[in-house]
Amino acid sequence: MSEASVPAVHHGPPTSFIRKHVFSVDHKVIGKQYYALALVAVVTGMVLSWIMRIHLVWPTAPIPGLGWLSKAGAPGGVVTPEYYLSLMTMHGTLMVFFVLTNAPFAAFGNYFLPIQIGAEDMAFPRFNMMSFWITFIAFCILIAAFFVPDGPPLAGWTAYAPLSAIGKDAGPGEGLGQTLWALSIFVFCIASLLGALNFIATTLDLRTKGMTLARMPIVSWAWFITSCIALLAFAVLLPACLLLVLDRVAGTSFFIPSGLNVSDHLQPHQGGSPLLWQHLFWFFGHPEVYIAILPAIGIVSHILINSMRKPMLSHKTIIYCMMGIGFLSYMVWGHHMFLSGMNPFSALVFSFPTLIITIPATIMTLIWLGSLYGSNLRINAASLFCLGFISMFVSGGVSGFFLAQPSIDIYLHATYFVVGHFHMVMGVAAIFGIFAGTYFWFPKMTGRMMNETLGRWHFWLTFIGTYCIFMPFHYLGLAGNVRRYSAFTDDYLVPLLPVHRFITYAALFTGAAQLIFIFNLLYSHAKGAIAPANPWEATSLEWSTPSSPPPFDNFGGKHPVVYHDPYQYGVKSSTGDYLMQTSPERAGETP
């Protein structure tokens, strides 16, 4: 028997509770664990943002319970300026790393990539288990920063040096908390690299008979492209964090120049380069934001095709656009650094590919819109979030167009315009992708349906609410409202406070609306209506598993054979207007 025919993954079903639910090598369990971790992270991050918004408009208001968490940071529950910045740092770090990299990519990808390509599990199940638990350790290290005496770090999720590299002399929040931050991200990078490796090997090597790359669903392509990006991006952040830790604890001078007088403490460092940190960080940081959005693009495309009951105008184009975005994402990092002091000529060099990235993004948007034409679009919670995604992707993308131009960036850099831009694309659009995926795949993951009415209310309130929060950010930016301020005391900022109050009300309202989702998730898990095997009449392999949730090896001892691409919608078949990928039936004429 040749080497190649030995199955790559072949583990028996687990028996003990620990093996089934805790230290499991089953990609489905690991996917749910990532989702649960992302859920905890997003709730924490959201609460942090409420505290921030409340403090901005009611600076002297005590936040109940906060005084217990940090006597120094919030005496009597009133947030100090340094604690505001710490909350902001933790908010960004939690959201970007532990929510936006975890949920659309690690959670749904782990759960569904193997099934969609007809495999039993990921290529390296034990690495997969390690990936999750290493991510969990990274999460614990980060949360620990809340409880150290100097408090959590306050240098932002971007942790610019020298502020982040000097240590305690740089002020409150820059003690052990910042070191823990760097260690946490270091550990997170290792986990992400292992995960990316798994995704790539699985996609390339574990596809079942008949599942050519061209027949993979768009979302599987998205996970694959994302993992390629992640592999190279996290590999750069990892040594960067190492160098940062060394500057902080070992006295090296990678990022700290000589001659610094910080609060009357002369720093002994020599000749380091703060710009070096920025280059290393953003070389990772820009691909990272595409890691956050590409899976959502894949999920939304996947669900929309099913909801429209018709293929996209061109799936290949969407896939090529995703590849193009992935490739270009490595050439644009300097657009975060136009005003950083790097050679001004390089600003123009970075601006050009940044503007060019608009092209594949526009192509995809036009294809989505063009595909809606003439479709039989089913409206439900999942498809509504997909439509909302398109709206948000347009809004967020359009504001990026401003920031891509260095001359405009002179005025808009470091204002709320930037904050509005990235919240719309990452903080809303990508999250909508996660919501859509949840409503769509919940029946397959749990065997029950989520409540459709609650889902729709969740959508309406969130859609309107997030526009109310983040659209005004752009107006503030145009007025020159500087970001990362813990209070608005400047002459020109005081008149803008009514806008901030409106935003805070919208934020609290939208946050409350998420309770509907959480309730729906938990209630439906226990008491939701039993789901049919293929409630959405979908074609891809996850809907052909013998049960919901799928058995431990996904297909019940059988390996599926694939006869079609996943876009057989609008065809005459014995099952209706679609053909599953596993169906040997041939399509009749398209009606």
């Binding site: 100090t80 002369l266 950083s340 409206i379 167009f401 002179i410 005025y411 470091a414």
Partner: protein, 270 residues
């Protein structure tokens, strides 16, 4: 039903979003860049306006088409499926040509404004002024009658005794007549060469009315040059996260007539 609701809501949101852009106000507050008092800013403003029109039209068009299509096709059951006329071909072409042309045009035009600020060095007769950013204040230094700046000694910085720059007037002749100020005072219509020095961590210099922003980088000698065209007081803000006092780190740019400036400078020397 849900499709029609979505269509109405997304179109309303799109139109509502455009209103503050056109009226420049939101909830009673002015949400537009303030008056430009620089010689280079008009190009930035033009760029901003052009981008706003193009991006705004693209935004509105996309949201309206989205709403319209969802209105038409949302909730349709068993109707014959149709493909968008021309399929993907024309859409791809449109994206390539329209966006590509726009991107290249804006990039090319925008680079002029950028070049004006950054590629040209300060002219030889610009007034040199130094600014030092430190946690959490800006201090400005004028060279005094000798036209030379004394050297900075970080170990000699003593804020309590107003030695903000760490000057050593005893041993450094050039430092003896240097003038320190917490306010950035400049004459109107005179080019200023602003030399930027960071004392501790990263900061940034931002004056909205000057359409000027530049990071301070510890260890790097960076500079800006500009000319202010209107007398008045304008806020200088720190826009690079520098610690707990970041929100409070500001100074005032005070643009005076040349005569007033000369008088001010003389008064500082005494």
């Amino acid at each position: 039903m849900g499709g029609k609701i979505f269509a109405v809501i997304v179109i309303l949101i799109a139109l509502a979003s455009a209103v503050p852009i056109i009226t420049h106000t939101f909830l009673g507050a002015s949400v537009t860049p303030p008056e430009d008092i620089s010689t280079h800013g008009f190009e930035i403003d033009k760029q901003l306006d052009e981008t706003m029109v193009e991006a705004g039209l693209a935004f509105l068009a996309a949201q309206l088409v989205l709403g319209f299509f969802v209105w038409q096709f949302g909730g349709r059951k068993d109707a014959p499926l149709k493909n968008f006329p021309g399929g993907a071909k024309y859409l791809i072409l449109a994206a390539l040509l329209l966006v590509g042309a726009e991107a290249i045009a804006l990039g090319a035009v925008g680079s002029k404004a950028w070049a004006k600020v950054y590629f040209q060095p300060a002219s030889a007769d610009a007034l040199p002024i130094q600014v030092q950013a430190g946690q959490f204040a800006f201090y400005f230094r004028y060279a005094g009658p000798d036209g030379k700046f004394g050297a900075i000694h970080p170990d000699k910085i003593d804020e309590g005794n107003s030695n903000f720059f760490g000057l050593d007037p005893e041993n450094d002749v050039a430092a003896r007549d240097d003038i320190q100020s917490g306010e950035f005072v400049i004459p109107v219509n005179k080019e200023i060469h602003l030399m930027m020095h960071a004392k501790d961590v990263g900061h940034s210099f931002y004056v909205r009315e000057l359409r000027l922003q530049q990071d301070f980088v510890p260890g790097l000698d960076l500079s800006l040059h500009f000319t202010a065209t209107k007398v008045g007081k304008y806020e200088i803000l720190c826009t690079q996260l520098c610690g707990l006092g970041h929100y409070n780190m500001r100074a005032y740019l005070n643009v005076m007539t040349q005569d007033d400036f000369n008088n001010w400078l003389k008064a500082q020397s005494n």
